[in-house]
């Protein structure tokens, strides 16, 4: 479904990603794990069209999308839930969710989608008319995920969904991600919380200093000596 093929990318003259390749098949939950600064976020931004690859390409359902503007990538059905929530602070929760359904294919059915999404996040139903900035960090992360789902994407990407959240909220966030995945959504997730992510994923990639050093089934990565030493501290 998604294929990143031999991509070099970065900002200005700074190269972050070197010869990065990865694949996500329909219905899979794939994760990229790695340390802070390894290039995980840049990988997602390259898929989203926020960063244009210097060499190599990004293909979605066989078509190259690496030259598209971010809004065109969203229209194709790829939605990124960004690191740090990035809500619209002076809008209500309801308006934030409606903004998620701005994509052409999602706008017409947004009332139905809203009901479905609120079924998954009952707490947000009680908060619909509150300003997004008045919510707790965990609630804001739930709004960010719900807003991403409002786009009815074919591929949903999460950038560090557990960052800065209390351990109990982290559990809730991963519960939600598992539910989203169980609904058949294709998911690409980037995390520093390696243990939780590998538990939730089918397959994983390990990114170090902008290069893919390992890829395997998630179960196998949990057993891998290098992963255990470098990321799980076992």
């Amino acid at each position: 479904m998604l294929e990143v093929r031999n991509v070099d990318a970065g900002y200005g003259s700074t190269v972050i990603l070197q010869d990065v390749s990865l694949r996500v098949e329909e219905g899979e939950v794939v994760t990229i794990v790695g340390a802070n600064g390894a290039g995980k976020t840049t990988t997602l931004r390259t898929v989203s069209g926020l960063v244009t690859p210097k060499t190599g390409g990004v293909f979605f359902e066989g078509e190259e999308i690496s030259k598209l503007q971010p809004h065109d990538v969203v229209d194709r059905g790829i939605t990124l839930i960004p690191e740090g929530r990035q809500l619209f602070p002076d809008m209500s929760v309801r308006e934030n969710l409606l903004m998620g359904a701005h994509r052409r294919d999602a706008r017409g059915v947004r009332s139905e989608t809203l009901e479905e999404v609120l079924g998954l996040f009952p707490r947000l139903g009680e908060r619909l008319d509150q300003h997004a900035s008045s919510l707790s960090g965990g609630e804001q992360q739930m709004v960010a995920i719900a807003r991403g789902m409002m786009a009815r994407p074919r591929l949903l990407m999460f950038d560090e969904p557990s960052l800065g959240l209390a351990p109990i909220i982290v559990e809730q966030v991963f519960d939600v991600i598992s539910k989203v995945a169980a609904s058949g959504m294709t998911v690409l997730i980037v995390e520093q919380n390696v243990w939780h992510t590998l538990k939730a994923a089918d397959r994983g990639y390990v990114l170090e200093n902008g290069e893919m050093v390992l890829d395997d089934a998630a179960d196998a990565l949990i057993e891998n000596d290098h992963v255990r030493q470098a990321y799980l501290g076992i």
Binding site: D90, L98, H102
Partner: protein
Amino acid sequence: MQTFLQIIANGLMLGGLFAIIAVGLTLIFGIVKVVNFAHGEFLMVGMYLTYLLTTGIGVHPYATAAAVVPILFVFGAVTQRLLIQPLMHARDEHIQIFATVGLSTALMNLALLIFGADIANTPNHGLRSQIHLGPVRILEGQLWIFLAAILLVTGLQLFLARTNTGRAIRATAQNRAAARLMGINDRFIYVLTFGIGAACVGFGSALIAPLYPTSPTIGTYFVLIAFVIVVLGGLGSIPGAFFGALIIGLVDALSGFYIGSDLREAVVFGIFLVILILKPSGLFGTRVSQSHVSP
């Protein structure tokens, strides 16, 4: 008492006129985050268009809005697309401001070249006749401007609050990076918003031209006052621009009568400095969005 009421009425009417000019300026500033120093010259262009259409084909000045509003919309949109947007990634955002200053001077001199320095009087079709409202007398055209200002401010607020496009505009202003991730074409939003801001002042031109003689420098006077209003009301706030305009209109009228008409502007700009020092966010100001950094 009679005199005082008359001064208040004059102030409110003047405030309505200021509001109609300031609304477009605050919209462009609040959404596109560009201070448009050519805003007064947009007004000047609109007033000349109204003048040409009324004298050329003899229509009522208000009817020219049907042409002036769309022309100014396109003018604003093209300004954003061809002048501001190429500078969006400039190393220093202030370059955009200098570009609008340049545009302002160019338009002023272009008008001087075409129309000369003489004033152009738009036929007023009876809009300068006085009407009695209780104890006060005002010009018919002033009352229309005041009502049009209320209509424009209400309409814009509803558009921004209730429509999909309006929500997309607000989303882009609040968090541009996130708006792009929602599938919003941020460049289109900026072009559209600049167009709407210019269209607002185009709407104002058709109303103002019958009451004020048009000249190449007419915009300079109004736009300076409009900047004071936008700062007083809170940068980017449309209700702020409206109430700020009424306050400045009242201050202008009251100080003109009680202090001396030569000192009106000194009082207005004195207030401007006091606001900047005491409450830089203005009356209706929210925090200035921090998200104008391109992702």
